[in-house]
């Protein structure tokens, strides 16, 4: 009989906490009688198609960009990385809305530049927008595992006569499949739970049905539908868990030194992504800003955003470590880890309401920053867990055993072996949580301290009122602050790399 892994009790507690809001959903749904409406089958098809296309789009954009930002030596390395990760901080409904009004006949682009553009909408349009705002999930998780791959294997393959693309495809790609899968899973769950983007681009998805019920004062119906959505979440989780990965010895990082023109071609190819996801929405807002004038904007909104996001990022990573280790230790731990993912697939407004019920059980915490951070962590824990797990599970366990054999205590082995080798996963996880919290809206509105205003809530306010010009400044700040936050976290990543690669 083997001993229970040490991470299990803590992971169990965290999984239990993550399930609490979901159990509230079941209580809320108990009022409703109708189980499944055949009408929902139609939207189910749309939803699955959107999820599938979003996965494809996020992977097609995310993996090459991860290779580019990780392996290719170029000037302003970190700047490009931050810029390419920034779409994650932009609320996707803002992107969808501005793209809808920029493109198409009579759109802003045609009005201002006279260039006719096709209009965006429907399944394909929604999938494109969704991919643009979720590919950083894939990019950051993939990058974290690329960084801890041993680059000498690629060098060996090339020495043996394999071309670079072939060695990337046959040597690197199979070894990062788990990370790509982890990122794609997050993109899929985001596509499942997002409401604004499909609504604006006129695609009828499951979340829209939930939203209609919720707004028609059918909280129990909305909860019931969210539970049905959890079945899809479970399916996606199952598919992702079948992706296999191996363990890996850490080693020297691979660097590619392309000729300057090759570098510029690569950067040029990645530019459209940034143009569409970041530059276009902000330019449209700037046009409206010039047309309508700015509103009153308070710097404290930006500070609130950054502060809450930072707290949530740190807390999420700290809690993700035991969950990720439990996931590697055994089947029960794997189950606990999977449970923490469910909250991310439920539409924010329903999850927010469930968390209000949970929060009211702790009146001293209700409507405090503390509860808000807890809510963020419960919702976005999977972002951190996925990154930490994928770097941790490729770690060769014999390294820890060797350290123990040489007399290190479990604590010391963790500190000196496991931690440095999984550090990048933690940084990537923290970055994902940070960016996602920056754009989070429903939980912030429902659970934050009364009067607590962030960039995302301010943008929502002016957007709702139709004063789009006022969204320009908070939009710019959102991108700028996310950049700074990422910069700080990535500096930590760099410092660690130096130590590891000294030979």
């Amino acid at each position: 009989m083997r001993a229970v892994p040490k991470s299990y009790p803590i992971a169990f507690l965290i999984a239990f906490l993550a399930v609490l809001p979901l159990s509230v959903l079941f209580t809320l749904a108990s009022d409703t009688s109708g189980l499944f409406d055949t009408h929902n089958l139609r939207v189910l098809g749309n939803t699955m198609a959107l999820v599938g296309l979003t996965i494809v789009g996020a992977v097609v954009l995310g993996v090459p960009l991860a290779l580019l930002t990780t392996y290719v030596k170029m000037p302003l390395q970190r700047f490009w990385l931050v810029l390419l990760a920034a779409p994650l901080a932009m609320p996707s409904y803002i992107g969808a809305f501005t793209m809808y009004f920029a493109l198409g006949p009579g759109g802003e682009i045609e009005n201002l530049l006279g260039i006719p553009t096709p209009s965006i909408g429907g399944l394909w349009g929604t999938a494109i927008v969704m991919s643009l705002y979720t590919y950083p999930f894939v990019m950051l998780t993939t990058r974290a595992s690329l960084l801890s791959l041993d680059g000498s294997l690629v060098s060996a393959a090339r020495t043996l006569g394999m071309s670079l693309p072939a060695s990337l495809a046959h040597v690197v790609l199979p070894r990062i499949m788990r990370s790509v899968g982890a990122g794609a899973l997050l993109a899929a769950l985001y596509a499942l739970s997002d409401f604004g983007t499909p609504a604006i681009l006129r695609l009828d998805t499951f979340t829209r049905v939930i939203f209609v019920e919720y707004n028609a004062f059918g909280l129990s119906q909305a909860a019931m539908l969210s539970i049905q959505l959890l079945v899809i979440v479970a399916l996606v989780l199952f598919v992702e868990s079948t992706i296999k990965g191996g363990t890996e010895r850490p080693g020297k990082q691979l660097w590619l030194w392309p000729k300057p023109w090759q570098r510029y071609v690569m950067l040029l190819c990645s530019l459209p992504v940034v143009l569409m996801a970041i530059v276009l929405p902000l330019s449209i807002f700037l046009v409206w800003l010039i047309r309508e004038g700015a509103g009153d904007f308070d710097v404290s909104y930006a500070i609130n955003s950054a502060y809450a996001s930072l707290l949530a990022a740190i807390a999420a990573v700290v809690l993700a470590i035991p969950v990720a280790h439990a996931a590697i230790s055994g089947r029960a731990g794997r189950l606990m880890e999977r449970i923490t993912y469910f909250g991310f697939g439920v539409p924010g407004i329903v999850m927010g309401t469930a968390l209000v019920y949970v929060g009211l059980k702790l009146p001293f915490l209700y409507q405090t920053l503390g509860l808000l951070v807890i809510a963020y962590v419960l919702r976005f824990l999977p972002l951190a867990v996925g990154s930490v797990r994928t770097t941790a599970e490729r770690l060769d366990p014999s390294l820890v055993k060797a350290a123990r054999l040489l007399g290190a205590s479990p604590g010391e082995a963790f500190r000196r072996i496991t931690l440095p080798l999984t550090y990048r996963g933690m940084v990537a996880g923290a970055a994902l949580v940070f960016l996602e919290v920056m754009r989070e809206l429903p939980a912030t509105l429902m659970l934050g301290p009364t009067g607590f205003e962030t960039l995302a809530t301010y943008m929502w306010r002016v957007y709702e009122a139709g004063y789009f010009g006022m969204a320009a400044i908070p939009g710019l700040l959102l991108v700028f602050l996310s950049g700074i936050g990422l910069m700080i976290m990535l500096t930590g990543e760099g410092g660690n790399r130096l130590k590891l690669n000294e030979e």
């Binding site: 209609v212 004062f217 019920y357 009122a465």
Partner: protein
Amino acid sequence: MQRRTFLQSFAAAGALAALPLGMSKSLAAQQDAVSVKDLPALKGDLTLYLGRGEGGLYEKVLDAIRQRNPGLNLQIRRGATAALANTIVAEAQAGVRRADLFWAVDTGSIGMITDAGLAKPLPDDLTAQLQPGFQYPLWSPVTGRVRTLPYNTDRLTADKIPDNIMALADSNLDIGWAPAYASFQSFLTAMRILEGEKATLDWLKGVNKHAKNYAGELGVVMAVERGEVDVGLANHYYTLRLKAGKPDASVDLAFTNADAGCLVNASGILSLTTDELTFNFMRYLLSAEVQAYLSSEAYEIPLVRGIKSPTGLPDLSSLNPPDLDLRKLADLRPTLNLMRKAGVL
């Protein structure tokens, strides 16, 4: 800067002098809107749940009230109306009360709270200020909005648009609508109550044949202006605001007659306590200055007596809205079932 002058004059209580002459006269009558000058100063802690995402103008009103009442500690929680209504119900179930006031964008949320027995009765003098038909014991309308038919002026003239909403189904006009939008669903609920389920279902099916869906009614109005459709179904203020920013916009408003198509709905406020402070705060929102400001700047329809309708909109008395208890509009479920049956949701 009109907005800034409002703030300053309000703070200095000189706003009355800045108001048009006719209005200052009408303020003299007792049952008419009260000036902020005659209202008691607000003192103490007050938490408002504001169920609307409005930036800008509502902010200005709330800021002005804060400035005028330094002793008032006003905390505001914003959110989607239905989300805040659900929060208030959840709080009540847990025996916690954080909100003193709930200001909702639609009467449906108001109905949800009054049905839960959480709203406290209002003083008579407060409800007496409101126009006939808008006086309710448990909540007070703040401003109104009327259902309109915005149409593209390049493609249509007003006489081509039926003045009966039911006739729209048999017309050959391209129609833009936002079926998932709360205001649309309220309008359809009114139609269901006024015309019956069968007629509403037929209407939905008829319009659906030549309608295009949009996420919100601002989107509808913008689509009408862009010429994507001939005519839309939307609240009046989106068109007026669009025209304020773009005076040459090719969109204008048409109205139907005495049916759901020209329903006047309202945003409403209710009190969750019997504290005099919350009632006085409501009195500020119903004051002549605030109502006139919301009318001239936000293009909302003032519902207290003696304040002008916004420019670009016919006076409330010349419109012919249907007679209906607005709280009945909270009964959305049968409406949604009809919409599903017709395949529009």
